[in-house]
């Protein structure tokens, strides 16, 4: 078991938790290995924590938990049971927080490979506001 520090808490993870991004994230090619960790107090939001840097973190969430009808079409390489996360940009006022629905992170649960795919469907935006109601 290795550990990673997030917000003052040590989190344990095993080798099988590690996601490999062959091409990194878009514009961030250095991010090749990461883990997704959830903390009770922040659910349904999770952390995407790159393993090769100690300081960079992303907040991610399964977009279907927030947008019930989010059903994008992925490229054919993505299997049906692929795990989907959307990257969230946190603002100091949570109402200003945005979510990137246009370029979700897809994780293949079988081999733990991940990729960030830009959807061709233009109705999904890269800085969508969260529902306020």
């Amino acid at each position: 078991m290795a550990t990673i520090m997030i917000k003052g808490h040590q989190h344990e993870y095993s080798d099988s938790d590690v996601i490999t991004f062959a091409e990194g994230l878009i514009g961030l090619p250095r991010i090749r290995r990461a883990v997704v960790l959830s903390m009770n107090e922040f659910e349904p939001f999770c952390w995407l924590a790159p393993l090769d840097e100690t300081e960079t973190r992303f907040v991610v969430v399964d977009p279907k938990l927030i947008f019930d009808n989010y059903q994008p079409k992925f490229h054919s390489s993505a299997s049906m049971d692929v795990q989907t996360y959307a990257i969230v940009t946190i603002a100091s006022d949570w109402k200003q927080t945005t979510i990137n629905l246009r370029a979700p992170i897809l994780i293949n649960p079988e081999d733990r490979t991940g990729s960030q795919q830009i959807l061709t469907e233009t109705q999904y935006h890269f800085a969508e506001r969260l529902p306020q109601d």
Binding site: L28, H75, R102, Q116
Partner: protein, 82 residues
């Protein structure tokens, strides 16, 4: 950068599977037809740049995480879930 001259109807090939055809040229505009496998994503570069910028904006430093804001957010969406 490789620079090639092509006329309408002519193509270039990238690797073994990607072809780009100049469909038509009118004034300042060029229409391109791209054939690529499903696994290759093709986008206007502007879209790619937007996503790049969005990713960089979303990247947060461990030390700068605003836990209060994230907790507010979490509380709001926990209620919505069931």
């Amino acid at each position: 950068m490789l620079v090639l001259s092509r006329r309408p109807g002519q193509k270039i090939v990238i690797g073994n599977e990607i072809t780009i055809e100049v469909v038509s040229v009118s004034g300042e505009g060029v229409r391109l037809g791209i054939s690529a496998p499903d696994t290759v994503s093709v986008h206007r570069f502007e879209v790619f740049e937007e996503i790049q910028a969005a990713n960089k904006l979303a990247e947060i430093n461990e030390a700068a995480i605003d836990a209060t804001s994230l907790k507010d957010l979490s509380e709001h969406f926990k209620d919505r879930q069931k």
